[in-house]
């Protein structure tokens, strides 16, 4: 085949160009640290990358949900524990009042006052607010679960309104309930046997042994209910903790997967770049030597 200087120049140029573009591609990968900077770099990789990115974002949301739900559950648990110890004190005082046939009017009065005081304190506990939401108010839009008189003003659990649970989504397929409505924890106010009505009755019945012993029975019922609720909250808190562990390991897995898909293999890319650069230099050298000589160099 007849070869001309221009053809040599053209083909050399084409070779140099493709070499240089390979170098530039590798350099771009090295400087950006990612293999996929546009979908066409790797369509399947892009698919994995998009799915993983979405999963990471969703997982981050679950992380926030879990830590928020944990806060809510912890607050509910500690409120219940505090109230339980206070209810026990009420029970002690009630028993004391029951056994106080010989007690003076003053000491009966003192018991009534103390119980009334404890009731106020428990009302305060029951109206605890976390993130603008009363812990025991169900899905109420207001900021109180019980009003000053001890009547339930939350939503759900009484008066024919079903409990609408407050949940936190902890994974794509799982939600965990984080709240406990007042009626569930302290008894249904409609029955008149809820915590605050019973304690109210105790205050009113100090001195009346017969009524007081009925109240004691009711109080025991309320305490049992509260204990069961505390156990329920504890179980949910444990579930939340497990979900948190799973969430953390999922986050780690997803990060690894994204990194595997998108990030460059540094040693490999550096080696490739070095090889490509050597090739490029060799091509430059060869081009410089091939294009130079013609017959002209050898004519006198």
């Amino acid at each position: 085949m007849r070869v001309t200087q221009r053809a040599v120049v053209l083909t050399s140029l084409q070779g140099l160009n493709s070499n240089l573009s390979a170098v530039s591609k590798l350099q771009q990968q090295l400087t950006s640290g990612t293999q996929i900077s546009r979908p066409s770099d790797s369509p399947t990789g892009t698919n994995t990358s998009l799915i993983t990115r979405q999963a990471i974002s969703g997982n981050g949301q679950y992380t926030r949900n879990i830590s928020d739900g944990q806060t809510f559950l912890d607050a509910t648990d500690s409120a219940l524990q505090d109230m339980l110890s206070q209810v026990r004190r009420v029970r002690d005082l009630t028993v004391q009042a029951l056994n106080g046939g010989a007690q003076s009017a003053q000491s009966q009065q003192a018991i009534a006052t103390e119980v009334a005081g404890i009731r106020e304190s428990m009302l305060g506990q029951a109206n605890q607010v976390v993130q603008g939401r009363p812990l025991f108010g169900g899905v109420t839009a207001g900021n109180k679960a019980y009003d000053a008189s001890g009547a339930y003003v939350g939503v759900g659990g009484t008066g024919g309104i079903a409990v609408q649970p407050l949940t936190r989504r902890v994974s794509p397929v799982e939600t965990i309930r984080v709240d406990l409505t007042g009626p569930e924890a302290f008894g249904d106010p409609a029955s008149g046997k809820d915590l605050f009505s019973v304690v109210n009755a105790v205050v009113a019945h100090v001195g009346d042994t017969a009524a007081l012993s009925d109240d004691l029975k009711d109080l025991d019922g309320v305490i049992n209910g509260m204990l069961a609720s505390a156990a329920d909250v504890g179980t949910r808190s444990a579930r939340m903790q497990t979900a948190g562990t799973v969430n953390t390991s999922t986050a780690l897995n997803l990060k690894t997967q994204l990194s595997d898909t998108e990030d460059i293999d540094l040693p490999k890319t550096i080696m490739e770049l070095q090889m490509q650069r050597n090739g490029y230099q060799a091509a430059l050298q060869a081009t410089a030597q091939v294009i130079q000589p013609t017959l002209l160099d050898f004519l006198k």
Binding site: R6, L10, S42, R53, Q54, G58, Q61, Q164, T294
Partner: protein
């Protein structure tokens, strides 16, 4: 018998022919780097005596020297037409590749700022609202995130429209350029015909014309066939563009609005006659971009916007807002009509955070007043997990785009190898080789010297002859 001085005449034609051959070599060397130049060769031809016998004129001459009248252009017609085809294909594929590359740029995926990330942020804002629906913070977060997503979708759509518009402008300019080039080819055809008729050399004109034809091949996929008088007939997709000294004008017709694609798409027609022309080359690439590639992704993002609005609105309307009213449309087309939504007019219809319907519990079911329930926010968050939802559809589109762009890139790179090979083959036929020219130069130089020697020998011979009679 030969004439006494006929030897001198032979030597003279030799001197003249070798000089002319050296001139041609000089022209070749001078144009070694000229694009489109075809090397030339002086056709040396020996001159003989008359071969027709006559009664009283008997000629037994040895010949009367050499002539170098004809200078031919060395060119392979087959390779030239191959080059025209391959150049057109390369140009068309290059435009297709560039178009898809620009579409990829418009979607800027995968990244932390693309539509996918904005979608995720929006869903997460609903997740936050599910956590805390009585607080105004998460409510305004949902509004801001949705607004960002809406802007993201609109920006991408605007980028596609802009790309379409620049293709339209580009094609318009290209058609004007094609018309100018076609006129030049017709003029050159005419000049070449006149030169040929007058027996004048027209090699350089022909080179110039062939370069223009190749330019037309690249621009609009023109092919050329030889015609009478050294001219060429240039045709585009079956329509004759240049015939002899006359050129047809092309015009671009069609609406500059991509929405009119169905009724009045951009197309190229002949100016008198309005016959549809099917171009190749860059024009074909740009027409395909305007009528197929860009509209495909424009429609995809439009229907994505519409589906997003539809699913979000349906879910939103199932809930109740903070004031206990049933949720309204979350997204519309800016005039309150959710059925006319495109990616260009997608608008966030809710501006007040209180109007976000996070609650599933109606006020009636909650005892007469609005509740603080946020289950509907979770239902909306769960839309992000759907395998047929907006996220999945969008992902499918991006992966499809990646495959299409990758195919286009590999096609254009293999096509450029073919094109480069054809160019190299053409160059190997038509190009100038310095070694060859130098050896030719030596050859002609020696022949010239030898012819000079012949003159001096004949001179000596004549000297001897004349001195004989003294």
């Amino acid at each position: 018998m030969t004439g006494t001085f006929s030897g001198l005449n032979t030597a003279r034609t030799a001197l003249w022919a070798q000089q002319r051959a050296m001139d041609v070599t000089g022209q070749n060397i001078a144009n070694i780097n000229t694009v489109g130049y075809s090397r030339q060769r002086a056709e040396l031809q020996s001159l003989g005596g008359t071969a027709v016998a006559a009664t009283y004129a008997v000629n037994n001459n040895v010949g009367e020297g050499v002539s170098a009248d004809k200078v031919t252009r060395i060119r392979d017609a087959f390779l030239e037409s191959r080059a025209q085809l391959e150049t057109a294909t390369t140009a068309s594929l290059t435009v297709a590749d560039t178009t898809l590359g620009q579409i990829e740029d418009a979607f800027r995926e995968p990244s932390d700022t693309g539509i996918q990330a904005q979608l995720s942020d929006m869903w997460n804002a609903w997740g936050d609202l599910h956590q805390n629906s009585t607080n105004p913070g998460p409510r305004s977060e949902v509004l801001e995130r949705t607004q960002t997503l809406v802007s993201g979708i609109r920006t991408t759509r605007a980028a596609l429209d802009q790309q379409w518009g620049s293709n339209f402008d580009g094609l318009q300019t290209l058609v004007q350029d094609v018309n100018a080039t076609a006129t030049s080819i017709a003029d050159l055809n005419d000049s070449i015909r006149r030169a040929t008729a007058a027996g004048l050399p027209s090699n350089e004109l022909a080179d110039k014309r062939d370069t223009l034809v190749l330019k037309l091949s690249e621009q609009i996929g023109a092919t050329a066939t030889p015609a009478d008088g050294g001219g060429v007939t240039v045709s585009v997709g079956g329509t004759t563009l240049v015939s002899g000294a006359s050129a047809l004008t092309l015009k671009m017709v069609g609406s500059s609005d991509p929405d009119d694609l169905g009724t009045n798409p951009p197309r190229i027609m002949t100016d008198p006659g309005s016959t549809l022309v099917r171009p190749g080359g860059t024009a074909e690439g740009q027409l395909t971009a305007m009528t197929a590639t860009i509209p495909q992704y424009r429609n995809a993002i439009d229907s994505m916007a519409k589906n997003l609005a539809l699913t979000l609105n349906t879910a939103h309307e199932a809930g109740y807002d903070q004031d206990g009213n049933q949720g309204g449309a979350l997204l519309d087309d800016g005039t309150g009509d959710p059925t006319k939504i495109t990616a260009a007019n997608l608008t966030l219809a809710v501006t007040d955070g209180r109007k976000l319907a996070a609650s599933t519990l109606s006020p009636a079911a909650a005892g007469g007043s609005p509740s603080g329930d946020s289950t509907n926010a979770d239902s909306i968050f769960q839309l992000s997990l759907s395998t047929t939802g907006t996220d999945a559809t969008y992902r499918k589109m991006i992966v499809g785009l990646g495959v299409q762009a990758q195919t286009a890139t590999s096609r254009v790179s293999s096509q450029s190898v073919i094109s480069a090979q054809v160019d190299a083959s053409r160059e190997s036929v038509s190009g100038v080789n310095i070694d060859e020219e130098m050896s030719n130069l030596l050859q002609y130089q020696h022949a010239y010297a030898a012819a000079g020697q012949l003159v001096s020998t004949i001179n000596d011979m004549l000297d001897t002859l004349i001195n004989m009679v003294r």
